[in-house]
């Protein structure tokens, strides 16, 4: 893949082409969230619950403060979501073993089960989009997305990649 002429053809990107990219991003994001949203709507949960569950699954034992930073919401907002998840037995909050002010968050079996349903639905769509677009498109997709993140988000995203995989 020659990167050499990268600048040139980009110089001719019109506002109209950029606008189409913006609209593609908007419509695609709606597709991206549609499947989990449908599942969540059948229970008393919303997208905020999904996000919490997702990142607890991703980094089991994470603290509340850490989750707060990843999600970028206020403590009060997250706490409302977290509280219902704990009450419903989807999330377990354990007192931190070294620092007992901290709470380490884990998914229970029921929590894992819901997380699976949700991310399965999302992965099915993602996988099919990847298949339709082809392997080279996928790496381009990822490159543009990463370039589109704020510096702070990029940091968070990268730190998750270190843990995972």
């Amino acid at each position: 893949m020659p990167e050499s002429h990268s600048g040139e053809s980009l110089l001719y990107l019109t506002d109209e082409q950029l606008r189409q990219g913006i609209e593609a991003m908007y419509f695609a994001y709606r597709g991206f969230t549609a499947d989990p949203d449908r599942i969540l709507a059948t229970m008393a949960y919303g997208r905020a619950h999904h996000r919490a569950i997702h990142f607890i699954k991703r980094a089991p034992g994470t603290t509340v403060t850490n989750l707060l930073e990843i999600l970028g919401v206020t403590k009060q907002s997250l706490n409302r979501v977290l509280r219902t998840l704990i009450e419903d037995g989807l999330v377990e909050s354990r007192v931190g073993p070294s620092d007992r002010r901290e709470r380490n968050l884990f998914l229970t079996e029921a929590g894992e089960a819901l997380e699976n349903r949700l991310s399965d639905a999302q992965r099915v769509r993602m996988r099919s989009a990847y298949r339709d677009a082809g392997p080279e498109a996928v790496s381009g997709f990822r490159k543009v997305l990463e370039a589109m993140m704020d510096g702070e988000m990029k940091r968070r995203y990268a730190s998750l990649r270190e843990n995972g995989s």
Copy 2:
């Protein structure tokens, strides 16, 4: 950490790789909306106003029903937003020339000005992401996004592309 995922390696897309795509989409979308959000926060507007302005700019003279379909929200929800935009003199609502039940929506000069500020901000980020990622990445990005849309969204997206460009 092998970075190169091109070619036949797609057949072996792991759940973990898909999960990274999901997270990239999540963080990127936040970057995508961050700049307009910052501008909107300084006035009494939110993302819903931005979307209305965006699509009126895109399809001047559009009817309320058409906008409703593109945005996929209820009449009541859109109306609340539209009403403030009309009151504030950013949007003009003209009685339809052929069918007087319809209202054709247009941006006023002030509306155009705000639209420009918002989409400039968004385009700057988009352009810089495109430049960072390179031209080939851009076409891949667009391919995956289109494949990720729901059928209905894809239709709406395509119909906008016909008009524009």
